[in-house]
Symmetry: D2
Subunit: 436 residues, 4 copies
């Protein structure tokens, strides 16, 4: 397992003074922060599709990525060799988890039977590599958006045969996830939406999507898979509109179709901003519904209108994410999955290391800062104080449902204008900077 990245040693923690770009300056996996090791606070995962399969093409040009271990063929043997490159990468990086789509790890062949057989053959290799290294599968998923058959949707295709194919593919991907001890299974509906309403029966499509998820719930029970189901929101791209557009849309859908107990959300920063929300907003929406499951750790450029899937290096962002994670009590089944790709201009193998190291260090700093904020307590104390009028008196009665419009009108007539304090946004923003 030293074939893919022969010149790159295991990345070590060297502390903030190090000038070695191939070292961690902040991520020290076994250091305790907030009562747990950094490793277990973050549960980093490598995204197989980006790290191993992204050729770095874009709509205006072909691939640039140099991946010497990959012969470019669609063969099972190539797919199996790739497994070891990925595990070498994880080992050298010190990441404990990985995630895949079925078609990332194994080739799609001419028939479902052949594709399934290829998948099994690669799964053998994955199982071997997991055992040998102790690395684990954070979650698996099926790619229901790349093949031409899915161009009008998978479970929301107007063609029932396509629905059937999608179902068969999810079944197999769940089987393999189960076999490999995956801790979760994700649904991302890249084509589950529409290109134009002029040819679309939206209500029928949404019902079909719910149907697929109910089938997945039933099948999970049947095979005894205990992992967590996730839905990943995104508002558009590739579809003009995707039904799982943001956290609220997903929750609404899950509630309407009696699926909420079975699913949590896998939130991605760049999807949040494409939907017009901050990542922190989406996290709070999900947490309020007890439905934050896992995180696709990346970032975008908010001046750009598509999913750039960049590696997250902004300390404000990683601080906000880790603050929400700590406040919800930490990640359980989920993790921080680097759903991020090197820029097309960064095509060398070593760039994969720079990219992941930067992301891991940025989250390590975010974790420490967030932990310091909580320990220090000034931010929380300000917020608690700000809402304190609800802790007693008329406010407590409002919260308990003990008063209605008439009592409140009487209260105003008796007490006159309420006295409001400043929201102190600027002071709070300054305070945030104090922890950086």
């Amino acid at each position: 397992m030293n074939d893919a990245f022969p010149d790159i040693p295991k990345i070590q923690y060297e502390g903030p003074k190090s000038r070695n770009p191939l070292s961690f300056k902040h991520y020290n996996p076994d250091e305790i922060v907030g009562g747990k090791t950094m490793r277990s606070q973050m549960r980093f995962a490598v995204a197989y599709w980006h790290a191993m399969r992204n050729s770095l093409s874009d709509p205006f040009g072909g691939g640039t990525a140099q991946r010497p271990w990959d012969d470019g063929s669609n063969s099972v043997a190539n797919a199996q060799r790739r497994v070891w490159a990925c595990f070498e990468f994880m080992e050298k990086l010190g990441v404990d988890y990985y995630c895949w789509h079925d078609r990332d790890v194994a080739p799609e062949l001419d028939t479902l039977a052949e594709s399934n057989a290829a998948f099994d053959a690669v799964a053998d290799e994955l199982e071997k590599a997991q055992k040998q290294t102790g690395k684990k599968l954070l979650w698996g998923t099926a790619c229901l958006f790349s093949h031409a058959r899915y161009c009008q949707g998978a479970s929301t295709s107007p063609n029932a045969g396509v629905f059937a194919y999608a179902a068969a593919q999810v079944k197999k991907a769940m089987d393999v996830t189960h076999r490999l001890g995956g801790e979760g299974y994700t649904f991302w509906g890249g084509r589950e939406g529409y290109a134009t309403l002029w040819n679309t029966d939206m209500k029928r499509e949404v019902n079909h999507l719910a149907r697929l998820l109910h089938m997945a719930v039933e099948y999970k029970k049947k095979i005894g898979f205990k992992g967590q189901f996730y839905i990943e929101p995104k508002p558009r791209e590739p579809s003009t509109h995707q039904y799982d557009s943001d956290a609220a849309a997903c929750l609404n859908f899950l509630r309407e179709h009696n699926l909420l107990e079975h699913f949590k959300l896998n939130l991605e920063t760049n999807h949040a901003t494409l939907a017009g929300h901050s990542m922190r907003h989406e996290m709070q929406v999900a947490i309020a519904a007890n439905a934050l499951g896992s995180i696709d750790a990346n970032t975008g450029d908010t001046l750009i209108g598509w999913d750039t899937d960049q590696f997250p290096t902004n300390i404000y962002l990683t601080t906000e994410i880790m603050l929400e994670v700590l406040k919800m009590g930490g990640l359980t089944t989920g993790g921080l999955n680097f759903d991020a790709k090197c820029r097309r201009e960064s095509f060398e193998p070593v760039d994969l290391f720079h990219a992941h190291i930067g992301g891991m260090d940025a989250f390590a700093r975010g974790l420490k800062i967030a932990h310091a904020m909580i320990e220090d307590g000034r931010i929380d104390a300000f917020i608690k104080q700000r809402y304190s009028s609800y802790d007693s008196g008329i406010g407590a009665k409002i919260e308990k449902g003990e008063v209605g419009f008439e009592e409140l009108e009487a209260h105003v007539l008796a007490n006159g204008e309420p006295l409001l304090g400043s929201g102190r946004q600027e002071m709070m923003e300054n305070l945030v900077n104090d922890y950086l």
Copy 2:
């Protein structure tokens, strides 16, 4: 009632050849389209706040509107005179409904008691004018966003006294709406959101918002008000984020807090596009949940990032809106409320007529085109055919829940690759143009 617009006659239908800008070329109120008069298909309403109270100021400059009937004072007498200007406007325009916020029709004075008394005094005048003209109140609402006390939210203020004030104001606005025979009551949460999460307890705020709505439901029952409750989504502005951000977010909130049976949505075009959705998308989302109530008929400029509240003149837009309205079986309690203002550069009284005439004619054309599309049937037939694989065979079994993953895998193994037809988006877009 000829004081406010002395030079302007009643606007007449003159047909498409007319070159008189102060005539209807398409809106012929008593013409039957789709089995009903145009008047009852559209149920147009004048928005009191824009037509009567908008000075046309913007963040960079003061008011420009010339409104000779208004002395600019905050007096009850001025407010009462304004009532008659509004009804003269509605009469000359031939619009049957109007909508208001409490603070549009009557001044906010030093205490709640005084404000309530002023409101009653203006309500007397409104009642008189309604009786005299036969005009009706489409819906009323309380303005919970202009006064400084609401700067940090109304029901979501951190200050319980502010919640109480909001409750008292809603109570009174519901009382007056009930007295005037209003057919609905709307909630728009302009400040029910946050400016920054660094000083906000989002979960507590959202619970308070639900509390207010439950109180409203109880009070409605108590006073016997039978009108429809509406919630109006908007993603941001004035707040950085508003809890009622889009149709899906509203529905999710209503479901979570057991309020869905009591509320429908009042959708606004410019709010839809600010949320990144087309108006038609929002309408279909609402209709799928049986929750489309009423429409704020305006438009925005999608290259601009704030709510321009422009009058709708785009025939594609009005066609799409009326198509959804016709397909849901028509408007019942709701209507097309012109929540739109003249541009700051269009400051003369006659511009109010140009603006409303243009909107009414555009909707009249939209109605006729949409009706023609339905009658002709080619669009619907294409869609029905496109999904026909779900009408029998494996598709019907999927819809009925008779098959699961295993049966579908077997189906694919037996049947191979599904045969997909083109989505024909371009052909459909051409077809749409054929009806224009």
Copy 3:
């Protein structure tokens, strides 16, 4: 030449009542509108890259396009066969022009010498097809963005060898354009920009871009090519920022580098809206600098943040474009090039016809409406009247430069507040609808 689209006849003008989707309802090529045939007013062109080479892949999935005449190989023979499919398409559609990038028509092979030879071999075939059909080349261009060598820019690459390659490629593309009698040559700098400023010397890059263009001007003179040079603005995608971001940025660059006399702009609707401008705005900016050259006729969805390159069917858009074209005195060297692709869901050959027919009919309607507006004169008369205070008196003196601050202060002190009339935006928008 009936191999590629055997079932599709020549598309005929059948008038607005026709229900045949494969007919023109508005585009009647030899009908005179505004003193010229529709054919010569519009000068439609087929974009070889979209019509012949776009597999309809997107960042989330592979190609879907069914192109039975194409064997998918990179061979010269395949490229030559494709030529005849394209000319059959143009013949059946009745489009007179086409446009290409070098790499659309001929394959890129292992060395420049081989690629150039392949290009010549295909050019032989193009020349033959042009002669046989009378079709003409609107403009040629070199693809300096797809190959991996250009991933960090072509003339703005940090690598001088890449600059050299780009120059060699442009030279050859100009040679072939010249040989085929091309009426223009276009530069689109898809990678001429940056991904991040943290690794970029912007000033040096922009100077290199100017260098390439000066070389092109010199070479043009040398070979006696008389066609028009165009620059096509786009703000981003694929680059994070592109130097030719909008019309104003292009003009500023051309002025700074003494290139303005040699270049005009090729404006694309979807690029305009991605830059935050309306297409009409960009056209007026270019026309004011006497620099509007040609048009990439497509459209986008302004709720979507990337270049969707959709076929234009919106009548408001085509009216605005044709209005500007008519007002500038018509197109000369340029044309309306359908830089537009079928949706990935519309993958059948016949969809190419639906798409182009819809665009051509929409422009035909736009032309007729724009011509009617000009003939009728009400819009122009309103604008002329609106600015009439500059036609005499103090306004005329301002325009002639006869007065300065002191005279104008004196004028105000003597005359007091100016009397402003309404801008009448709403009335004008209604008037626009009257012509539809």
Copy 4:
């Protein structure tokens, strides 16, 4: 001068460990960074309009700001008292400069003569306060966007009388700027644009704008004013489109109208992002044209589509700004003007201190980080190396203009494919974080 903020002492530098929110933790005015005091590197200015005149109203609600020193009247006496509040604020904050519009400091009265007299009376007080405190005027400007007369533009109004009024107002504002020793004068064309092209003669309007600026150049010479002229770009708001939309548009306009030698740009972060650019991009565009003059130091929320004018606290942003400032050799006539307002929820006087302190500390950190980057040199070295192929050989010949297409084609035929190195964006982003 201790009336306005009686409870607030002079803000002191207390170092990064201080927990006193009313202290500087990083801004130490006389500390030397990069060869100059922090004070002279930054040249901070208070924006009179926001600090003293912004009531914190927004389009959905009235003012909330508590400003006890202001009686709310439009009187000259109130305006004069306000002067002392502003200077007390600057003194306590330790800011050396301020900026104003004419109508911020003095009221607009019924006639120009009265307004001018009021302006003079307040200027007397400003002069007194400047002498007493040593504070200086960074730049003055005239407000040509608030009054109703400017609702259709000032120099671009269709009404020549409005042009005259604007000219008279600029004349007076230049006179007062000159009298007060202002180091610059700024033009921001808030209404110099259009609301719709359907009523607009854009070319004529742009020419009128150029006319006004030429008059200003002449008048400047006449009165001997030596300050720098600035133009401030913004793409829209309040206008739908503003002619000075971004740096490139301003430079193009200035070049076309032979004004470039007389003007530099005053760049604002929030205007840059509204135009779809990063602030750093706009700075580099301006610097490349030797036209960066001054900076409106604020920030926006890129998920929001209007100008929020927030105080800048993001360390990445302040680092990038100061890096560009240091690289251009420092600010000369310009400064960092806090064109920023407290949030509407932050309405107490002390919030003005929190806001400015946070901005000043954030820029102090940005300055130190930027200086460290330059001193350390790794970023610059990487960039220099990346372009080194242009320092000799074929690259140097390209830059010197010694080769054309034919030589470069020969070079490629002889040398084959160039060898490109990775752009290393991820490594550079990690490196940036190392300096934080």
